[in-house]
């Protein structure tokens, strides 16, 4: 006889109160229900207790805009990047130099999502994992890249180039009926002024000089309001006067944006550099002020040794 009060049978199922089971799926392949949105926590006054994480927004509270940690990339056995680690501070103007094949362009490719690293992590601010985003998403998150060869829209005017680059809703539906507001027009004009193309606003970009094309491309990057600008040999092929103006432009941009400049022209580097990183065979060889780096025996060995 069951006299004891202990029920040895399985415990009664928890009643769902007649509500449909939230995990119910009509078929096995049916996607599981999305979790209900969690209400945002009220801002905490106690900074040590739980920090606010706003996914997608750049978090530079630790003063660092870009972390590369132990990044390795190999192409058919050739190690283009070998456990590269690098940190760029917010608002910093950093120059990256190194002999051909040192991995400068591959590093840019990893940051912009064009190349996936075989190992290592790349973080934009504290929270955005670059290795998990597409190229378009990375551009949207706030990383702008200037290529070696100026790539601009040759059959559009300088003004239209900036218009297309401007931060806006870039989905097809919006773009079909988009109209330029007066503030947007002002922003384009201000950028044209900054890059010294105010007088050439209506000119076809394909007809601009080489230096002007480079500036236009930098202007296009600026229109996207990037937090981090990657510039691959920005003064290659420029005249001395153009190089000088570019240096002025970069120095004025630092602080507002973080800049990473890859360049071979040492005179140009000397005119803008505060901190220089030397890459060699896919990893950092030396880092510091230009004079320090230039006198580093290992750097001299790499550049002049063989």
């Amino acid at each position: 006889m069951e006299t004891s009060g202990v029920n040895l049978k399985e415990p009664p199922a928890m009643s769902t109160g007649g509500l449909p089971d939230p995990d119910h799926r009509p078929w096995p392949w049916w996607p599981p229900a999305r979790p209900a949105p969690v209400a945002p926590r009220p801002p905490s006054s106690d900074a040590s207790y739980g920090r606010q994480v706003d996914p997608g927004a750049l978090d530079v509270r630790h003063g660092v805009v870009l972390y590369l940690d132990n990044i390795s990339v190999s192409f058919d056995g050739f190690l283009a990047l070998n456990a590269l680690s690098l940190a760029i501070d917010a608002g910093e103007l950093r120059c990256v130099i190194g002999p051909n094949g040192a991995g400068k362009t591959t590093m840019m490719d990893v940051i912009t999502g064009k190349t996936r690293p075989d190992a290592g992590s790349a973080f934009f601010g504290q929270t955005i994992d670059l290795t998990r985003l597409s190229e378009a998403q990375i551009a949207h998150a706030g990383i702008g890249r200037k290529f070696q060869k100026p790539t601009i829209f040759e059959s559009h005017s300088a003004f239209e180039n900036l218009e297309l680059a401007m931060k806006a809703d870039k989905r097809v539906r919006r773009t079909l009926f988009a109209r330029l507001s007066s503030e947007e027009g002002d922003r384009i004009a201000a950028t044209l002024d900054r890059i010294g193309l105010a007088a050439s606003a209506g000119r076809l970009a394909g007809l601009l000089s080489h230096g002007q094309k480079q500036w236009l491309e930098i202007g296009m990057l600026l229109m996207q309001e990037p937090k981090l600008l990657l510039l691959d040999e920005p003064v290659a092929g420029m005249s001395d006067a153009e190089t000088e103006r570019t240096a002025e432009l970069f120095v004025s941009l630092a602080g507002e944006h973080s800049l990473v400049v890859v360049e071979h022209d040492m005179a140009f580097i000397a005119s803008i550099a505060r901190k220089v990183t030397v890459l060699h065979e896919g990893s950092v060889l030396a880092e510091g002020a230009l004079e320090v780096v230039q006198n580093d025996p290992r750097v001299i060995e790499v550049y002049l040794g063989r």
Partner: protein
């Protein structure tokens, strides 16, 4: 205003003149002027004009994808033919029991001894359903094909070759009787649309005018697209797609939108073509037809919209003259034309006119 954005005053006047000719001069010459008058426009002339205007719509559709987005399709004839077949099914049902066999079924089905309509013919006696299919079938095919092609970043000559293969495969499919669309004979011998006899001068002229209205509407739609920011993004994709992506645009959806729209426009053109020409068969899907579409756009001038309209008119006008006078030489002429235009007129007829104006 939107009108000022689309065309300047001269452009609107030119468009109004074209409309006056299509809706005023041609109908009067055809319906009012007696047949013995030298100015009379024959039924053949109306049919030829209507046919060429259908090609003009296709040429505009081609220019949107090739001239603006830089996507060279060598399979646009497929979308044209699908629109034609979709509407042709309805026209076949409108024959009713007036066919050779006096049965309320298309002749080829009776000949093949089919007892019931295959599933493709569901609801094919409904005009609205046919109109829906004209848009939906080419649109859906283009969307699915384009989605996979553009997502895999298939571009340039590879994309062109795949589109060519697609239309060729479809042609082989439609040649089969079992596909259910009349095999190599296709559809012909149409009698009515909406119960109205098709072979009367009035009906022919109505179709002609409807086609003309569609050409103008397509031109204005195309103009709206290419003068919008969307159009500037398209041209930017053509010139430097990687840069457009780095600017934060997902180019897949831009290309897919214009590609699908272009296919739908071709489908509509095909649906207008079939009742006027009176036949649709799988040869419309032959690769040569699709290549010819690209030639119209190249001759007129890519990336101008009005150029391909002129190109379609010129090439097809020349074709109807040549195939009458020296039928065996037409393909040589076409090939020569393409070479000459590529070598000496990279911007087509419109480019030539622009160059003259600048010189003057």
């Amino acid at each position: 205003m939107i009108f000022a954005r689309l065309y300047g005053p001269k452009g609107w006047i030119a468009l109004a003149c074209a409309a006056a000719i299509v809706f005023g001069v041609f109908p009067v010459l055809n319906l009012v002027v007696p047949p013995d008058n030298p100015f009379h426009m024959s039924a053949f002339g109306v049919q030829l004009g209507g046919k060429i205007m259908c090609y003009m719509i296709v040429a505009i559709a081609m220019d949107l994808v090739w001239g603006y987005a830089g996507i060279l399709s060598l399979g646009h004839g497929l979308f044209f033919a699908l629109g034609g077949y979709a509407f042709g099914m309805y026209l076949m049902r409108q024959i009713g029991a007036d066919g050779q066999y006096r049965v309320d079924m298309p002749d080829f089905m009776v000949f093949l001894d089919w007892k019931a309509f295959p599933w493709q013919w569901w609801n094919s006696d409904s005009f609205l359903w046919a109109a829906f299919l004209v848009v939906a079938v080419p649109g859906l095919l283009a969307f699915v094909f384009g989605y996979f092609a553009f997502r895999s970043r298939v571009k340039g000559v590879y994309f062109s070759i795949i589109t060519q293969a697609l239309t060729y495969a479809a042609m082989l499919l439609f040649f089969r009787n079992a596909t259910g669309f009349g095999g190599n004979n296709g559809f012909t011998d149409f009698k009515r649309i909406l119960g109205i006899p098709i072979a009367t001068p009035e009906m022919r002229m109505a179709l002609f005018a409807l086609t003309g209205a569609t050409v103008i509407a397509t031109l204005l739609l195309g103009r709206f697209l290419v003068t919008s920011k969307f159009g500037r993004v398209l041209a930017a994709i053509r010139d430097a797609e990687a840069r457009v992506m780095f600017c934060g645009y997902d180019t897949l959806w831009y290309k897919l939108f214009v590609w699908t729209l272009s296919a739908v426009l071709c489908g509509i053109a095909g649906a207008l073509y079939v009742p006027q020409v009176g036949i649709i068969n799988p040869s419309e899907m032959s690769p040569a037809n699709s290549i010819e579409i690209a030639i119209w756009a190249a001759v007129g001038g890519r990336g101008t919209l009005v150029g391909p309209v002129i190109g379609a008119g010129l090439v097809n006008g020349a074709k109807s003259v040549f195939t009458n006078a020296f039928p065996e030489y037409w393909l040589y002429v076409l090939g020569l034309l393409f070479i000459l235009v590529t070598l000496f007129l990279p911007n087509g007829v419109v480019g030539l006119v622009k160059r003259w104006r600048r010189a003057a």
